[in-house]
């Protein structure tokens, strides 16, 4: 086993964890010491990336959301094959390009079918 597997390899990680935790704790404690204790309605609202919240966050999602999520999962995971392909693309040349085109063509056929069947319509 190479020495990179030894416990000493974890020292940078340990330092990183300690610094990150320390910084978070420090910010929380320090701001709680110096902040003013005035609350109003806007201050107590949940922060949603700057958009004003309209309803409660614990709502039921439409089942259509799952359909989109499922399609995303299927098409997303195909990138797993594109990363190794991209890394050695220079060695594969035209052959690799054609292979990937065939692969993507098959995906596109599936995508086209899903699209035409209305799987992407948010009715």
């Amino acid at each position: 086993m190479p020495s990179a597997y030894g416990a000493s390899a974890y020292i940078p990680i340990a330092i990183f964890v300690a610094v990150a935790t320390g910084f978070a704790l420090f910010t929380l404690v320090f701001s709680s010491l110096i902040h003013s204790e005035k609350y109003n309605k806007v201050k107590l609202e949940p922060y949603e990336c700057g958009i004003e919240p309209t309803t409660d966050a614990r709502d039921r999602y439409s089942i259509r959301y799952y359909l989109v999520a499922m399609l995303f999962v299927i098409f997303d995971v195909e990138t797993v094959f594109m990363f190794p392909w991209a890394v050695i693309f220079n060695k594969l040349l035209l052959f690799g390009l054609i292979e990937m085109m065939v692969f993507i063509f098959i995906l596109v056929v599936g995508y086209y079918y899903a699209w035409q069947k209305g799987a992407l319509d948010w009715v």
Partner: protein, 491 residues
């Protein structure tokens, strides 16, 4: 082109490429064709299967490994590919009227999935590498998960899909864990390289664990007791043509995978896996037959009968000789015809509002439709193993292979089980020929269904009287494997 890959690799997988192209064509045609012309998709599907069969012709005598030993193109895979294509074509012919009765929305999806499942099976039969076997298996299994639940408004179909999916995914986990251990202990994913790597490791407990896990995973796929609990529910709930294809194609493909993994990949461990399959074989045929006796639903009864048949088929594997493998191949082919035929008769009885799979739906069939009743009679006798049908020939070879390998007890249990099975096969015949009361309208035989019944009846009769050709083909196919390795390990 990268080193090690050549154009000839693509030439050797021509049948698979044709089938993939055909499947994509069906999917696109489903979108492009206007709704009223979509019935033509069945014929496009049959055309794709026919083109694939034609593409197999140049490889009748080939014996090569393709793409760094990922796939083997040999007689063994050829035998199974022919079986899969036949089964798929018969299933498509059975489906045409069934889908019309069910009012299924998009037949293109259905036929696409049938073609995908066939593609997966072909890859499984040719796979001599853990990666290809796993991909083939999943291409087949995922297609079947959807097909089992294809009739969406029907809750039974839905439940069948969920049960098949859960147990299928679970068994995949077990199988893959076993495979990961096989990989780790041999350092390769190629089964043939693995075989030599395992020599001398026979007593390694981790390898034993791998064997047990893979046996369990494969056991789920072939529905061997005690891994069979999904089969009756799925067979009963799934659309009848899908059940037919599932019980024939999926089982044959799983046996091909089993033979590849164990005979090609672990011949030196044969003492262990043959013992496991010995136990499974006895459990499977006995439990399957006893459970079948109590069923009143014909599809469910045939499910248990198909479980029992997995037990018979395992006898050839237990024997572990070239003769045993040959017998398994012969019986798989014969079993396909009689099983598909029996399900075709059930499809025939499907009418509006009547599922047609209860025992009482068969009562008086001989007076309503003598040809269908005669066909069913023949399939039942064949499944029970009565001469002069093909089923008798198949069983004869299996039992004699077991006796030949000195498994006398196994052969005796097999014969006793065949006797038990006659009870429930003959019961259907009694309903068809001796019960007078007839229910509902007469079943109509469409040309497609007539073709299916004609082919299966002919095959069941001809293979029972003249089995020499099938025997020779199966023998040559089995001998392309390195069976000698196991036989040497036994003695």
């Amino acid at each position: 082109m990268p080193p090690g890959v050549s154009l000839s690799d693509f030439y050797y997988i021509l049948p698979e490429l044709v089938l993939t192209g055909g499947a994509l064509l069906v999917l696109i045609a489903d979108v492009l064709l206007p709704k009223e012309r979509r019935a033509a998709l069945a014929w496009v599907t049959l055309l794709a299967l026919g083109a694939t069969a034609a593409a197999l012709v140049p490889f009748a005598n080939t014996h090569v490994e393709v793409a760094h030993g990922l796939l083997a193109v040999d007689r063994f895979s050829l035998f199974f590919k022919i079986l899969f294509l036949l089964a798929a074509a018969i299933t498509v012919l059975m489906s045409i009227r069934y889908l019309e009765t069910e009012g299924a929305a998009s037949p293109g999806e259905y036929y696409f999935l049938i073609l995908c499942a066939t593609l997966g099976m072909m890859i499984m039969a040719g796979g001599i590498d853990l990666i290809t076997i796993m991909i083939g298996l999943e291409t087949m299994a995922v297609s079947f998960y959807i097909l089992a639940g294809y009739i969406k408004p029907n809750q039974r179909s839905n439940e069948a899909a969920v049960k098949y999916f859960l147990l299928g995914a679970f068994s995949l986990g077990i199988l893959l864990y076993g495979m990961s251990l096989m990989y780790g202990l041999s350092g390769t994913t190629n089964l043939r390289v693995m075989a030599s790597a395992f020599v001398g490791q026979e007593k390694d407990p981790r390898l034993m664990l791998a064997v047990i896990l893979v046996v369990a995973g494969v056991g789920f796929k072939i529905a061997a007791v005690p891994f069979h609990m999904w089969a009756p529910d799925v067979y009963e709930g799934a659309p009848t043509p899908v059940t037919a294809f599932l019980s024939v194609g999926s089982k044959a493909a799983s046996f091909a995978m089993l033979i590849r993994i164990f005979v090609e990949g672990m011949p030196s461990m044969s003492a262990d896996w043959r013992l496991l399959f010995y136990v499974l074989s006895i459990l499977t045929m006995t439990a399957g037959n006893i459970a079948a006796v109590t069923q009143s639903n014909v599809k469910r009864m045939l499910a248990y009968s198909s479980i029992a048949h997995a037990g018979y088929l395992l006898m050839g594997i237990v024997a572990g000789t070239a003769r045993g493998i040959t017998a398994t191949l012969i019986y798989l082919m014969i079993y396909s015809f009689m099983q598909l035929g029996a399900f075709a008769v059930i499809t025939l009885l499907r009418r509006k509002d009547v599922v047609g799979d209860e025992l009482k739906d068969f009562s008086g069939l001989a007076f309503r439709n003598p040809f269908a009743a005669f066909a069913m009679l023949l399939f039942m006798l064949s499944l029970g193993g009565i001469p002069p049908t093909a089923g008798f020939m198949g069983k004869f070879w299996l039992f004699s292979a077991a006796i030949d390998a000195h498994y006398y007890g196994l052969a005796v249990i097999g014969v006793l089980n065949s006797a038990i099975s006659l009870y429930y096969y003959v019961r259907i015949v009694v309903f068809m020929y001796l019960k007078k009361e007839t229910s509902g309208s007469d079943p109509v035989i469409t040309p497609a269904l007539a073709l299916v019944l004609g082919v299966t009846v002919m095959a069941t009769l001809v293979l029972g009287v003249y089995p020499q050709l099938l025997f020779r083909v199966a023998d040559v196919s089995a001998r392309t494997l390195g069976v000698a390795g196991i036989t040497a390990a036994i003695r």
